[in-house]
Amino acid sequence: MELTLFIIVGAIAVLSAAMMLISENAVYSALFLILNFACIAFFFLMLNAPFLAMVQITVYAGAIMVLFLFVIMLLGAERIMTGDFRYPWLTPAAVILALVFLVAASAAIIDGDIDFIEEHKPDPYVRAVHAVIDAGELDFYLDDTLIASGLAYEDSSDFELWTEAVDSRHTVRLFEAGADPASAEPLGEEIVEINAGEALSFVAVASGTGDMDPKLIVATEDVTFNEESGTARVVAVNALAKWSSVAIVDKENNTTLIEDLPYGQASAGVLLKKGKHSISVYPDGNDQNQLAVLKNTEFDDNTSVLWVLIEERQEGNTFESRILNIETSGSPSFGSPTHVGRLLFTHYVLPFEMVALLLLVAMIGAIVLTHESLAPREPMTRRLANPPAGLDQPIIGKPEK
Amino acid sequence: MATVVFMLPLVGMVLMLILARSDQQYRWWTLTTSIVTFAVSLLLVRGFDKTSAGLQMVDQFDWISGEGFSIQYYVGIDGISIWLVMLTTFIMPLAILSSFKAIQKRVKLYYMFMLLMEWAMLGVFVAQDLFLFYVFWEVTLVPMYFLIGIWGAEQRIYAAVKFFLYTMAGSLLMLLAILWLGNEAGTFAVPEILEQLKTGDLVFSTATGRWLFLAFGIAFAIKVPMWPLHSWLPDAHVQAPTAGSVILAGVLLKMGTYGFVRFNLPLFPAASETFAPYIAALAVIGIIYGAWVSYGQKDMKKLVAYSSISHLGFVMLGIFALNSSGIEGAVLQMVNHGISTGGLFLVVGVLYERRHTKLMAAFGGIWQAMPLYSGVALVIVLSSMGLPGLNGFVGEFTILLGAAGSDAISWWFTPLAALGVILAAVYMLYMFNTVFMGELDKEENKRLPDLDWRELYALVPILIMVLVIGLQAGYFFEFMDAKVGDLVRDISLAVAAGR
């Protein structure tokens, strides 16, 4: 289907380009070019680049080509006279060279071993989650960088891009809020490995029932969300020290989402259809003893959900289990306007500004160039030091007589 | 801060080139720039810490550096350079003002060169890196070359080329010495080199020290100019336009003497001590020779030019007395000479503008025709002669005092140099009498107009400074005292240690 479309549209594109080339009338050429641009816009759509497609239509086909047409009409230059040309060999030479170029390029593309497959992974994201009961506000440090400060209980920080070195071991430390990382004793410390493309949540949980010593659990999430539409992605972290391991069940359709999740571990990601779900937690192998429940909770697609199973202090110094549900909407899908826009205003702000400046300069330039005072009205007479035969006459305007 | 002052003329020049449109605008723009520079440079005096011997208002960053060497943009002022900076910023507005009428061709270019000149001269006086210094040193040549070569008198090309070649020949030797030093020390920054010399990180043999001293010394001696390397000076002065002469005598020559104080003394103290008698002898010969030759002149500008040789002989004598009154006197005398001789050239320029001749025989009794002008001229002539109470005396007296009490040079230099004071009266009064006194017996002189406001504005500041320095030299010495005291102590320590 897709291939078919590609072939059809591609053929239109090539054809329209060819027609543009051979049309004698410049207006036709322009119209064919617009068609060609439309085809390319279609290709952009196929290439997951809706934003570009949109821009292609509006700016290119819409604005620029209209400008072209306008100028053509303005100058009345639909056709130009084709007189003798001094270099008749130019045409065949150009065609031959172009073909050689094309052949060389195609050969290289088709049969070359250029590696198109190697995937570039984006920088990792990190965030911190505070799930230690009774503890005060916490500061999280990754290596020596403060990634979350003054984080309250049950709160999570936003995902932050981690642009430092990756693929190596880093230390996550947590301190009481406001402590000096250089001198103070960390409350908890964990060595983690961070890889490109990951989204890591550093979850601080109590290291035992009623114990306030924090312990760090690392949950790997995925916020890029390019897997399957209509689903949310769930990762669970078990901080229930009483039970050796737990299972998590979706009550709606009675499917076990996660099995055998031991204490102090994070599960792998599980996909959850978008919509309402009721989630229960059981000790592993015991369907009766429901530890905690999350009732009728709505899950959006393109979200990453982190469940932290914790024990919470009740009145009378008893503890009760609970699911801490933290949802994060995934990053925008590839090629969407949001995606492009975000990039534009983060990494590409400077080039963007420069291009804007360039446009401004171009605008001024255009005005200056076409300003009347700068364009002499009188036809210019060529002055030749060594005039070739027949060119010693003024070639424009009326010959002076 | 130092950067601000010395970059101002350049900024002014660029803005002038962009904004100014007519000759009149060039003139006023340049004048304003130079006056603003002067005003800003007054802030230097205000902010200067007299008690400190070190560099002040320093701006420093790496310019060109690499393996084993570093050239820095390193500017700052101390007790020695502050008055020379002030002299430059003071003289320039006057020089510019004096050329309003005299310069009528290629006005834009002329004023561009004036500002370029000021920039480069200020650069010479604030640069603390040998390489940077050298760059400015050479840059000063270019505008002066053109000032003489384009706006000069009949033989201007000859004079300009001679000026250029003479100075260039000397400075190439200096360049070699600078490169050698920079290579040995790994840095071109003078304070750093001095530090290395003090700590013994950088040591060179006695012979090397002497060669380096000579390499620097010849470059400076040509600029001063010391007898017998003075031959370019009369040519340059006589051919240069008035403002060119003013700058040449007022500031440019001081670069030579300044170089001796700034580089030769601290860098090669032992060699300075060794060469001091010889240089002092040349200086004394210069004093007497210059004065004597001045008396034999027929052209006013030439007379003043030769008198510069005599005056700068005093400066050199003071420097190589190697004690604080000699050196401080020398530095003040640089300023004095700049003001007085600059003034003399302005005075001669006034007559030249009216009569287009500088021959003394063409005048006589000018006092009757131009009383105001003659009064002004008298004060400047007296200042140049070293009348006590005016600026020239203070410098000469302290220099002679230093020379008389110097350990480095023999006693008989002092009476011989003092002889120069008599001879100064001889040639100066000769000029004053022939031109200003006597009968007004030449018809063409009878209707000469007296000073106009513009000329008065150019001359009155000189009179003021002549009096202020003459009566309150203590104020000026205070600025140098810490620095020169340090310098003298360092020299004697270094000589004692055999460096």
Binding site: R86, A108, D111 | G296, W367, L400, I422, M437, L471
Partner: protein, 766 residues
């Protein structure tokens, strides 16, 4: 009373204000306004001097040092220990000088108002006069040698300006005036050369230039001067206070006394090491050179007669009464130094005495009324200097004071004569008295040969002139008698009592000089006032205005009475009536070695008789008969004296000597240096023949055969080759955009192929 000492800066500042006022606004004031300002300034300065004098007397003659307001230290180099403040000194010596300068100055200012009436540069004249007052008062009030030097050179400048005041006189006179001015300045500079060297040496010897530090007292004289015990005038201070002041910073003179008392002091500075005595001798000799310049002594006196080119009030004020005495003042100020050096004292005495007699001799042979007085001044200055040389510092100052009065009087009176003569000459022209045989071009109002018989025409002038002449000749009881007598007595005492040869020599020379004085003065009086007018101008001469005659009268009275301030001890009646040596005791509070003169009846009588004899001789020689036609001097006519007269008339060929052996050689060498050595040889020959031409030849060689002939030709061939090739290649540059575009494509293709080379190679199985 001490507070009044704070007024001393005003002594300088008031004339300064007067000068500036007249300088800037003089033209608008008109003559009267200018005169009021100038005379007022001078009078105010005198008033302040009087106040200071009274304050001195009332405070027990305590010297005071007062700072200049507004100004800071003049020179201050801490690291060299050099500090020259602007400080004024009020002590009896400076007050004396202030009184003389401003007092005589005021009278002369008044006189000048009349004398300069109608001059086109009237305001300028008074600017200079006030400026002179400024510098002269600075000279005498400064508390250190350098401040004195400011005044010293400053008065020289004023002298220059005033001598050359009539630089614009037509007919070559202007040039002569200008040259005279220049001569004065340069000759003075020669003296200043000595003075400044002396100052340098003083500094390095004593490490200060202050006479005395503030609060310091002049030390008492040495005790070996016991012979003059009864006449010593040490400050009224107990002995122990002396030692107290000696602990702080002390000035030059006390330091010198202290070291001299210690003995065996070495002076070390720079490379010099000398005994203190030798240093002081050197310093004093150098100072002496300065004094010979300013006070017109041999060998530098030549400028003073020429200085008469200036207006007469200037001659009276500057070149007779005040400026020329600066040298004497300076030596008296340095009496501590001079006293300790026998050699210097000897030289000083000899120079003074010789000058006195030489100038007296020359004066006899002069025709110009002012020149006679000028040489007389030189001669009298010789008396003062000789007095310093024989240790009679007080006598020197005394003579300075009296001389200021009567010499000012004589000059002013001569000015009055000249004025009268000019008036007569003017009158002659107006009324067309052409019947006289005299050729007017030769007329010179100052030439005594044109005068004669003015006694009746100008009675006031005549009588005052007589007073001045008698005072100068030293006739009792006129002022000159007292002071000259004291000098003569001190000289002979110096010889007899202390056994110095210089005392005898000076005495003999001075006595002869005194005879000369009386003789040439009466010669002058006879020529000017007696006999019959020898020129129509003299016939029509008339008395000057009151403005001019009144100062004359005041000065005449002063000439008569001023001597009474210092009656020597031992003089009958008067001494008892008016107090003995009042002036010396006043001076003694600041001049350490001032000692009062006694009175020797024999000597005084002899001197007076000699003077009267000389007067009689003069009158006899220049009687009415010889005066009738005075084409040639009677002395000239007499064979015995003709030669001597010619010598005197030619000023002993002193100027010619200087011209021949100093000035012309200097000038010729200057021309030779300037034109030959520096220009033709060094500038042209060395630079152009030795450096430029060989260089040019070398460049020619390199340029023509080497460069053009070989290198250039070969490169030309290369160039031709390139051109031929490029002629072919030029076709590529078609100027058509599309061909360029094609070549771009070609290039791009090459690049693409280059990049894809591995791929293509694999593809093609290579």
């Amino acid at each position: 009373m001490e507070n009044y000492f704070d007024l001393v800066p005003l002594v300088v500042l008031i004339p300064l204000v007067g000068m500036l006022t007249n300088l800037f606004f003089g033209k608008r004031f008109g003559e009267q306004g200018v005169a009021i300002v100038a005379v007022g300034a001078s009078a105010a300065a005198f008033l302040i001097a009087v106040i200071l004098w009274i304050a001195q007397v009332n405070t027990g003659y305590v010297p005071a040092v007062i700072d200049m307001p507004v100004l800071g230290d003049w020179i201050n180099i801490t690291s060299a220990g050099l500090r020259i403040p602007w400080e004024f000194r009020v002590d009896s010596l400076s007050v004396t000088m202030m009184l003389v300068v401003s007092g005589v100055g005021t009278l002369i200012h008044i006189y000048a108002v009349g004398y300069m009436h109608g001059d086109s540069r009237f305001p300028r004249f008074f600017v200079y006069m006030n400026m002179f007052l400024v510098f002269m008062l600075l000279l005498v009030t400064g508390n250190n040698f350098l401040m004195m030097f400011v005044g010293w050179e400053g008065v020289g400048l004023c002298s220059y300006l005033l001598i050359g005041f009539w630089f614009d006189k037509p007919g070559g006179v202007g040039w002569k005036n200008s040259d005279a001015a220049r001569k004065a300045f340069i000759v003075n500079r020669v003296g200043d050369f000595g003075l400044i060297l002396g100052v340098l040496l003083t500094f390095w010897t004593f490490r200060t230039l202050d006479y005395y530090k503030p609060g310091e007292m002049p030390a008492a004289a040495h005790h070996e001067e016991a012979a003059y015990e009864e006449t010593l005038f040490a400050p009224d201070l107990p002995e122990d206070e002396h030692h107290e002041t000696a602990t702080g910073p002390i000035g030059v003179f006390n330091q010198a006394s202290a070291w001299l008392e210690e003995g065996d002091h070495e002076v070390n500075f720079g490379v010099i090491s000398l005994s203190l005595e030798a240093t002081i001798t050197l310093i004093t000799l150098l100072f002496l050179l300065g004094a010979t310049g300013k006070s017109a002594q041999i060998p530098l006196f030549v400028w003073l007669p020429d200085a008469m080119a200036g207006p007469t009030p200037v001659s009276a004020f500057i070149h007779a009464a005040t400026m020329v005495t600066a040298g004497v003042y300076m030596m008296v100020r340095s009496n501590v130094l001079y006293h300790s050096s026998d050699l210097s004292s000897f030289v000083v005495a000899m120079i003074g005495a010789t000058t006195a007699i030489v100038a007296g001799f020359i004066a006899v042979g002069q025709w110009d009324i002012k020149r006679v007085l000028a040489y007389s001044t030189v001669s009298q200055l010789g008396f003062m200097v000789a007095a310093v040389g024989v240790g009679a510092y007080a006598a020197a100052m005394f003579h300075l004071v009296t001389h200021a009065c009567f010499k000012a009087l004589l000059f002013l009176a001569s000015g009055s004569v000249i004025h009268g003569m000019e008036h007569g000459h003017h009158h002659l022209h107006e009324h067309g008295h052409g019947d006289h045989g005299h050729d007017d071009d030769d007329f010179d109002p100052q030439d005594m040969r044109f005068m004669g018989g003015l006694k009746d025409k100008m009675p006031v002038t005549y009588w005052t002139y007589i007073f001045g002449t008698l005072a100068l000749a030293g006739v009792f009881p006129f002022a000159g008698f007292w002071s000259k007598d004291e000098i003569l007595l001190d000289s002979i005492k110096h010889g007899v009592n202390d056994g110095y040869l210089s005392g005898y020599l000076a005495f003999v020379l001075l006595l002869i000089a005194a005879v000369f004085t009386a003789f040439y003065m009466w010669r002058q009086v006879s020529m000017v006032f007696y006999g019959q007018p020898r020129h129509a101008a003299a016939e029509h001469a008339s008395e000057s205005s009151n403005l001019m005659t009144r100062p004359l009268i005041v000065l005449a009275i002063l000439s008569l009475l001023i001597g009474l301030i210092n009656i020597p001890s031992g003089f009958p009646i008067l001494g008892w009536l008016l107090g003995k040596h009042e002036f010396t005791s006043f001076l003694g509070h600041s001049v350490t070695f001032a000692h009062a003169g006694s009175f020797n009846f024999l000597l005084a009588t002899m001197a007076v008789i000699l003077a009267l004899g000389a007067i009689y001789a003069a009158r006899a020689l220049y009687n009415d008969k010889t005066l009738a036609t005075l084409e040639r001097d009677p002395l000239e006519l007499d064979e015995r004296t003709a030669e001597a007269f010619a010598l005197a008339n030619a000023k002993l060929y002193w100027d010619e000597f200087y011209f021949k052996y100093i000035i012309w050689p200097y000038r010729n060498v200057a021309y030779w240096l300037a034109e030959k050595l520096d220009w033709e040889i060094w500038h042209d020959f060395a630079h152009e023949r030795l450096i430029r031409d060989p260089f040019n030849r070398a460049t020619q060689f390199l340029a023509e055969p080497v460069d053009k002939g070989f290198i250039d030709r070969n490169f030309d061939r290369l160039g031709t080759l390139v051109r031929r090739v490029s002629d072919r290649m030029r076709v590529i540059q078609t100027g058509y955009v599309r061909t360029y575009a094609l070549s771009v494509l070609f290039g791009a293709l090459l690049v693409v192929i280059l990049i894809l080379l591995p791929v293509l190679r694999e593809l093609l199985g290579l």
